[in-house]
């Protein structure tokens, strides 16, 4: 059954038609000032529905103080094939990394 009540006509063995609800990505914050971190995803029909499902799946245990839900389709991801051009140039220039520099003893608050 699809969600308009009609019976799916997909042939046996064929790839099933998409009957799942939309996917939403869930971000949880564990304390004031902490970053919202990606927790996982939920299926839901509306933003309110996504918020409730996110709460039930990811926020019932642990000290969550804030939730974000974002339609998965709103996320623009880098392509795996772009990893070289996007990320490699930084790796062979060690002086670009903070670890390259020694912090003098006695410096506080870094």
């Amino acid at each position: 059954m699809t969600d308009d009540g009609t019976v799916s006509t997909a042939a046996p063995g064929s790839v099933p038609t998409e009957t799942q609800w939309d996917l939403w990505e869930v971000f949880t914050q564990e304390g004031q000032g902490a970053p919202h971190e990606h927790a996982g995803s939920v299926h839901a029909t509306t933003a309110e529905h996504a918020m409730q499902n996110a709460r039930d799946v990811y926020a019932r245990r642990g000290k969550i103080v804030s939730l974000w839900v974002v339609p998965t389709t709103a996320i623009v991801a880098s392509a795996p094939g772009d990893a070289g051009p996007l990320f490699d140039p930084g790796n062979d220039k060690a002086y670009r990394h903070p670890q390259f520099y020694k912090v003098p003893r006695g410096v506080r608050g870094l």
Partner: protein, 282 residues
Amino acid sequence: MTDGNGEQETGNRGPGDGWIAGARPSTATSGVVDNPLVESLLRLADDRLVLGHRLSEWCGHGPILEEDIALANIALDLVGQASMLLKLAGEVEGKGRTDDALAYFRDAVEFRNVQLVELPNGDFAATIVRQFLFDAWDVLALEELAGATTEALAGIAAKALKEAKYHLRHSAEWVRMLGDGTAESHQRAQRALDELWPYAGELFLMDDTDRAAVAAGNGVDMEVLRPRWREIVDQVLTEATLTIPKGAFAPRGGRTGRHTEHLGRMLADMQSLARAHPGATW
């Protein structure tokens, strides 16, 4: 038992041809305790214990993973509330009965829940409509009880209120989605409302025990609550394009131990392990 319109007022028959068929209350009543506070606590606790157990029956059978988890969460909330209330009831009673003793070693005639919560789950729409009718009542009742004279009761109510507000948000959203969804979801939600609406009336009945609890500052005046409940329910049902059924069928008796045949079967399932292995821990 064949027509669903329910003109009789006696509560001596089940409603129509739906999944509730056979909801004929027994006439037995016993196990009435003489302490009004204990009695009130049992009524509050048993609504939650029975509804929590019914919801737990969905575990592993939910329509979608997220909702399966949601229903199990709500079931756990309700059973947790029941546990606290039963523990308090046992302490106030002073006869050494623990929460487990009260949950697992009372028979159906000693249970004080409304019949609404003991009815079989039916389909998902029926489970949701029942939950919504209960949750709207529960939030209002707990708001009142959070100011109870007995501090322990007030504390439990305040904690439970936070949970109940989420339960209502969840069930109300689902009532809207089902009622204002597809033709089939609307039809199922309306059928559920037709069958369950008469049972909601029992939530608002008052007897001497309730009046004693109100007088002692540990009860809720249901007459005051009812119009506020109707306001919440009407608004959501209107948004859900669902129609409140007409009819005078008004089952009652759960608060004094008269239950449908469904409770006994449910308790047989719920209590069998504890009765087969009394005192077992795991």
